[in-house]
Symmetry: D2
Subunit: 311 residues, 4 copies
């Protein structure tokens, strides 16, 4: 599948755990299969929503191997190579190559403080070291650095980058990225990571989405994508409004922040839907409680997420 342009719905795959904190392969199989059957266009393993930052190297390998095995070539699988700097990224790239991923997704450097020159050299260094397509993952809330539209399009035009996963929360920047990408002949595939404004991103020029919430309701994102392709904007908006209402599950644990709230809510919803076994997260993340679960279940029921979703 390598080399093909990936567009459409490419959810970041959650990592289900057993009550003992082990990777729960049967749950992972149900999760991935349900997304593929719902019609997603690809999968993104080892993204932020996969709890990658919490997994040691051996568990990262196990997760990627499992997702690749379950997908079994039905859809392309992108592999996150989330690491602080070039040398450490390349260690992860070797794993992705060995397991046959359809591409790698790398963030800007983080922890160590680098500037524009180093950021550009970082992506060039990755591309120079692999034949896999390289995606830039723009996620300043984690890396604390925004990737500029000019840099991204330039690297796209040169064949260094094949696409961008935009989780920057900067819709003005995304519009400019899409505009410059079009002017350059669309070298980049542009996917948005923001679950509740995918409709606006489609108007701006997105080629698809990487929605964490797509683990919970893949069929909704597939329907929205097809409607956008067909220029049926009334349906796009209606589907987006429904998914935005569903996304409120992440605000249920109002006393929790970031990863705990977001991934915790997704896992709790999937347990409610019978897709995965537990809502356990990697330590030191706190597991959501019964009260959270009850309210999250109620939201899922209210917006009618099918337990076995189909597009």
């Amino acid at each position: 599948m390598t080399g093909h342009r990936i567009t459409g719905v490419v959810p970041p795959v959650l990592t289900p755990f057993t009550a003992d904190g082990e990777i729960d392969l049967p749950s992972l199989e149900r999760l991935v299969t349900r997304m593929i059957e719902a019609g997603v266009d690809g999968l993104f393993a080892l993204g932020s929503s996969s709890e990658t930052a919490y997994l040691d190297d051996s568990r990262r390998v196990a997760v990627l191997e499992a997702v690749m095995g379950i997908a079994a070539g039905r859809v392309p699988v992108l592999a996150g190579v989330i690491e602080t700097q070039l040398e450490r990224v390349l260690t992860q790239v070797r794993v992705a190559e060995r397991l046959g991923a359809a591409g790698v997704v790398a963030t800007a450097p983080f922890y160590a403080i680098t500037g524009p020159d180093e950021t550009e050299a970082h992506f060039r260094g990755i591309a120079a070291a692999t034949d896999l397509p390289v995606w830039a993952y723009d996620i300043p809330v984690c890396t604390h650095l925004k990737l500029g539209a000019d840099l991204l399009v330039r690297l796209g035009a040169e064949g260094v980058l094949t696409g961008v996963k935009d989780s920057s929360g900067d819709d003005v920047g995304f519009r400019r990225l899409a505009m410059k990408n079009r002017a350059a002949g669309e070298p980049l595939s542009l996917l948005t990571g923001h679950e509740v404004v995918v409709d606006g991103a489609y108007l701006a020029g997105a080629h698809g989405s990487v929605p964490g919430l797509g683990n919970v309701d893949p069929a909704g994102y597939v329907r929205m994508h097809r409607a956008a392709r067909d220029e049926d904007w009334v349906t796009v908006r209606a589907e987006q409004d429904r998914l935005a209402a569903l996304f409120e599950i992440v605000f249920v644990p109002g006393d929790k922040v970031g990863t705990t709230a977001g991934i915790g809510a997704f896992k709790t919803a999937l347990r409610h839907l019978g897709v995965i076994e537990t809502n356990v997260m990697s330590p030191p993340m706190v597991v959501l409680n019964d009260d959270h679960a009850r309210r999250i279940g109620a939201i899922c029921d209210a917006v009618a997420v099918g337990a076995v979703a189909s597009a």
Copy 2:
């Protein structure tokens, strides 16, 4: 006009200056008249784009008076009351009342550090002191404080706020605001200030826009608004793409930041179009140079802004 719900295109009115730095009333008259004739639904005087932060009290009065006089009741005029804290805001509110503005637009407190309780008390204090409709102006890039959707909708439902001008750059937050506003019976009129993603904001539920770029191309924003009202999304997108291409003028002075680049580019474009006399800005802002002007003019010509635009 007070009390009527204001929706649609409500540009923040620039403040033209003569070469000597005086308020240029003939230019202001041409500017305002052109926007009204293009079909805008209202005007926002003394906003950030009016260089309000640069004007002393007497010039603020002169500007508001002039805009009210030119509008002459043809469209409602909202008055910015941008000040650090309640007592100082109320001084500005008295002026707006005296001159007959259709509402006042207030930011969160700034400079002094305040929290959620003080922010809420700030807006309640304004509303308690005037019969004018009160709009919240969410502009964290200036105030360094984001207004929460729950607070805004609650104050809307209680009649404290009548609307929101959202310049927060947070499209996820705007979707949630629109969603909560609908659930509460739409007490708030929601206008977006982000010129290049108005289309997505319409999908999310915006009732209109407050585009600084609307000074340069009011007809474009009016066409986009009407197309959105008619659910003609292909036209909405096409118009937005054209306006986003025009917005590139603000990136021409790449060595300048913020206000100088944005307002400087708008003024330079308007001079190119023959609407205003000079591109002078308030000191200590640096005036854009001839090279900037040439490139800004070229962009205007390329996207075909009419010198005398009509909707």
Copy 3:
């Protein structure tokens, strides 16, 4: 007193209010007199701690007039001219000139977004418009812009600036400022605004302090200053440790932020000490409650602040 170099302890003067929210002149008189009698070297009226951001223009005039009158030439009085931009700052400068202040203290521009060129032009514009000495007030927590050491020393060497009040919370930056100032022949008087690390600032090269806590315990800051001048660092440290213990009063209202906590705690301590009548603050700031007051009083007693402090 104008033109003399001001060093030593220069507290920012709080603005006491009556229960009705009016300026409480008798309390202000006691407050100012107590500081002068404790041996302070100057007073800073209309600073952040004076609630300047909360006062309308007429109250600003009243406060400055009152402080000048009470000081009656015994110590120099600096006047804050805290406003968003040049033109508005100059309006405040005129007042300071008329009332005979010994200098004006201006922040970087705020609210409107400006860059280094505009910041430099801002300070130059102030100095060009007045014969009063101009102090730069570096307070990024309010202005969201850090003043650079190179700019400050350059403006000092040119006679544009006469001193810096550093409330930047950047001790590394302050050391570099002091080092560059020495290399340039000490054109600037450097005063730190951070109550609990004045000792380190003295080692780094500070010429004095502008401590809000100096309203509560002026004698302590005067003793510390004299010990530093005498190179008696064991006394400096002991006094600083005692004042740092006293500063814990600002963390008592743990559920409050910024101005409310800081100024609220100072006022509550001064009421406990019998210096001012109430702990009322400008709306919309919330007044500290009885439980806060009890704990603040206990801290004051524990560190032995004299009701009528003397150096």
Copy 4:
């Protein structure tokens, strides 16, 4: 050495590279030996200044092994275990245990977004998994999270933490940390990482320093520490002023940011002093050029850093 309280000068050891980018063991041996002979009290391997974020796991092992071997028990060696989250940190802790480090130094979680509960559980999880003393590394410029004084002292009092390396740039916070630590019976050893304000940190209560610049001039930091211990503050200040003048080397590459400028300058100075062979850094960091080197050399000469420093 495990279990002993470490105080004094504990430089973070740079990682020298050959022209080919391999770890340069002879240079590392000279660097470490010179610091030990200058009288440092310990060494911190695999810190930020060691380019740890740039080294893959095998190189991290090689570096720690080499530093341990060269130190050969003469001074204790702390090992950085800088990783995104608990599970990944523990992988690094196992290496530190195996090689016999005197303690591990862990930051707050980074990349993934966590809150206070997770941060506390993170440090508890590390301490529960090892018998090595655990140091908290407070470096918000890299982790984007400030560790609170109350949490640190509480974990110190419970025996979870043994010390803090403070690179927070928050001197007010450091004073409060030292004050609370004293009130709790000094459970924590407090070391500052800010090269130019170590003197103020000593006054505030620091037990020592972790200066990156200590690679370049270890003798100066040792002299300053001994003078502080002897309460000879005039010498402390003079030494600090000299070291602050030396620190200006990091501002020479003014067009470079963060790691490249800081570590690049240190390496370039050490090459000038004949201690290490090259100033090569890990890709994608850009190596400083000849002009930088000339100016850095001149600063070293001006402040008289001895090629073979001795205390």
